[in-house]
């Protein structure tokens, strides 16, 4: 069988036995779930049931690249999936070049099974796949691991996915770190550490074949026009072209989009300055594979003074957006923090929000110096913040408590500290506004893998003038994007989830969704069809997205997640943003949840997909499975 787009080969690696087998990809599965995130979910659903615990050897770790990976649409996106330590879907995407190399080497998916007895690493160079001893790599930080692997293999263009000390020490939400500071998969690094897999290094020299190259090129040129500064109709294209989210700092502050002091305030002063950052620290652009933005990623470096020599590569997320959470206004400290997290493979949001929670508890007198091993954990204490981060990585003293995740830490500390955690489904939130963006609040609450913004990004509309008047939309663009009304939010969030599920399964980067690309799927379909030779229409294509989201929901339902887990931190539900006069969300959340479950065809009381919904999407097997477990009437 000839494959276009997909390579048609899966690698299955048994870490305990050291055995590598190659399997053929199934055509029906790629039709139903495309690849990457969708296909990974299908594998995890069928192979890791609710009887398997996250730290059991039977839990699997899946790295997936989709059909358009290796083409310039793919942007090097990889989707990593496992059962998260909190039992929901531990899914995360990362950019870079790793996934493209995997496709060039000739593989679509890697499924890792069992646990190795001693540390191992996986080397993939085209047909040659070896599981090797990694005693010499274990304990090193991620950047050292990459350097050592480059030196050992002698291949300069080799790309590495690895875990750092945080993953090795089983910190709750450790991430997988790729070459050039790309990272992703909160919780996947923990499972990778549990499986004693230090790194996966990939280099490929094959071809990703296209069904119709000429048509693909024509469609790609149309795609690139969206990012053309001369003709773009999207407000965010210039900012993402030059300085990404950093450019929007003042906007964040004005609108109360920052979670200053653990979300107690929506305004932070003195806010870090993006021009200072660009002027003093940015060195040059540094991109993911075939990214059409010139400088969405940047190399930064501290040239002199405190922490001189520290540097790295930065993408999409503004540093300065994060600093107010712990009350810091110093670039060197934030850059150092980021470097520590990248080297250790520690999730920045976990570190940031759990330390911010501890700081709030300290200021409220719930914990004292005795609990924090003598550290004065107050907002704005930058050095203490870095010391605490190091202790989380090493799991020393109070750091060991925070390393378990903020919810578990609050449970251990008790004394009413649970009130101040900013987490959803037991995972720390990301820096996304909620009280002043109800579409984001709903989208975060219903997310199947803890709070994850890439599943529904971007949550703002394209320029209304650019929407053709005859275009039919599943929501009303004027009312749906109103940030503080519940109107039409269910339909909007369903659309965001379904369409982004497709984009992440092709895969492509959700930050590419600019202009009309977010509300009109026909260009994505054209790219998909011309690459793979499939001939489905837009309706069929959108159904794939709905199917993926329903399968993900069925997975977490099987693990015991219900409507009561689709909620927001109490701070967002009960506390206002005082400076901006923004009220808490309160009962609005449950109104929006009702809308969302209804439009999805899920039971409103339990959030379990109805049998009819699953059957219409061709998921009869899933419906039967849920029925057998007594979850469906």
């Amino acid at each position: 069988m000839t494959w276009h787009g997909w390579t048609g080969t899966i690698l299955r690696v048994d870490l305990a036995a050291g055995k590598v087998t190659k399997e053929e990809l199934s055509r029906t599965m790629t039709r139903d779930f495309i690849g990457c995130r969708g296909l990974n979910t299908a594998y995890l659903y069928s192979e890791v049931g609710p009887e398997i615990g996250p730290f059991d050897p039977e839990n699997k770790l899946i790295f997936g690249a989709g059909p358009l990976e290796g083409t310039p649409i793919g942007m090097g996106r990889v989707s990593i999936l496992t059962k998260h330590p909190n039992r929901f879907l531990g899914e995360g995407g990362a950019g870079g070049h790793w996934a493209a190399e995997l496709k060039f080497a000739g593989y679509d998916v890697i499924i890792l099974e069992n646990k190795a007895a001693s540390p191992v690493w996986l080397l993939i160079v085209d047909d040659q796949v070896e599981l090797l001893d990694a005693a010499w790599l274990w304990g090193k930080d991620t950047k050292e691991k990459h350097k050592l692997i480059r030196a050992k293999t002698g291949i300069s263009g080799i790309h590495v996915a690895s875990i750092g000390p945080a993953g090795e020490n089983l910190v709750a939400n450790a991430k997988v770190q790729f070459t050039l500071d790309h990272s992703g998969g909160k919780g996947c690094g923990t499972i990778m550490g549990d499986k004693k897999l230090a790194a996966i290094a990939v280099k490929g020299s094959g071809i990703v074949s296209l069904a119709d190259g000429t048509r693909f090129l024509e469609t790609y040129r149309k795609f690139r026009q969206t990012f053309d500064l001369k003709s773009t109709k999207d407000l965010f294209v210039p900012s993402w072209s030059f300085n990404s989210a950093n450019m929007l700092l003042e906007l964040f502050n004005e609108n109360g989009w920052v979670h200053a002091h653990n979300g107690q305030r929506g305004f932070f002063e003195p806010m870090l300055n993006d021009v200072e950052y660009l002027d003093r620290y940015v060195v040059r652009p540094e991109s993911s594979f075939c990214c059409p933005f010139p400088a969405c990623g940047r190399r930064y470096e501290i040239k002199e003074g405190l922490f001189a020599g520290t540097g790295g590569d930065e993408r999409e997320v503004g540093f300065a957006q994060a600093a107010p959470i712990v009350g810091i206004a110093s670039y060197p400290h934030v850059i150092k923090f980021r470097d520590m997290c990248n080297r250790a493979g520690l999730d920045e949001d976990q570190a940031m929000y759990s330390i911010a929670w501890a700081m709030e508890c300290y200021e409220r007198g719930i914990i004292s110096r005795k609990d924090t091993d003598g550290l004065e954990l107050r907002f704005g204490k930058a050095d203490e913040f870095l010391t605490m981060t190091e202790r989380i990585i090493q799991r020393k003293g109070f750091g060991d408590v925070l390393a378990k995740g903020v919810d578990e830490a609050a449970r251990l500390v008790g004394r009413g500290s649970e009130r101040y955690t900013l987490s959803i489904k037991g995972k720390e939130i990301e820096r996304m506004p909620q009280r002043n963006g109800y579409q984001m609040a709903l989208a975060l609450a219903v997310c199947e893998c803890g709070p994850d913004h890439t599943r529904w990004y971007p949550p703002y509309p394209p320029n209304p003038k650019s929407i053709p008047s005859d275009m039919e939309l599943p929501f009303d663009p004027y009312s749906a994007f109103q940030t503080r009304s519940v109107e039409d939010k269910g339909r909007l969030v369903k659309w965001l989830y379904d369409s982004r599920a497709i984009v992440e399964s092709l895969p492509s980067c959700v930050y590419m969704i600019r202009g009309l690309l977010g509300i009109d799927m026909s260009l994505w379909l054209d790219l998909y069809n011309s690459c793979t030779g499939e001939e489905g229409d837009v309706q069929e294509f959108l159904k794939i997205g709905t199917r993926i989201v329903n399968l993900e929901r069925a997975y977490i339902v099987r693990e015991g997640f219900r409507r009561e887990h689709d909620t927001l931190p109490r701070r967002m539900l009960e506390d206002p943003i005082v400076e901006h006069g923004i009220p808490p969300i309160g009962e609005n959340l449950s109104v929006m949840l009702d809308q969302y479950y209804e439009i999805r065809g899920w039971d409103q009381k339990t959030a379990i997909p109805k049998e009819e919904t699953l059957r219409n999407l061709g998921l009869q097997i899933v419906a039967d499975d849920l029925k057998q477990r007594g979850l469906l009437a």
Binding site: P72, S209, L278, V282, S287, A295, R298
Partner: protein
């Protein structure tokens, strides 16, 4: 357009290492069958630490052109660091960039001949 007098020039301090040039060159050279890193005449050298990217071109500049006369590698380059032009024009552009950089730090990341001016030369019908 006389291609003999034109040369490829790379401002490597602006190369983001995205590999668009490498991949698209392979696409055209490989008769549009697919994307392969080694199929084309361009190979990107990177130190893999984000400090240095240099595309190496082994090319005479003779391949198919788009409607404004650019080779595909230049058309697809997002930062504008790869240009196909004659020497005088390049020197003029490079000087304007050096000047712009002194005034506005954003020109560490992008080039003035691509941003914010019209990012390519106007087509005949647009003039």
């Amino acid at each position: 357009m006389d291609s003999d007098s034109k040369v490829f020039v790379v401002s490597s301090d602006l190369c983001s290492g995205c590999r668009n040039c490498e991949i698209w060159c392979g696409f055209i050279t490989g008769k549009r069958r697919g994307f392969a890193p080694d199929a084309g005449h361009i190979h990107l050298h990177s130190d893999m630490e984000g400090k240095l990217n240099i595309p190496e071109l082994d090319c005479s500049g003779i391949c198919e052109r788009n409607e404004v006369g650019e080779p595909i590698c230049v058309e697809m380059c997002p930062t504008g660091c790869l240009i196909f032009t004659n020497r005088e024009d390049f020197e003029r552009k490079r000087t304007s960039w050096e000047k712009a950089r002194r005034v506005q730090p954003v020109f560490k990341l992008i080039v003035p001949w691509k941003y914010p001016y019209p990012w390519r030369e106007l087509r005949k019908e647009e003039l």
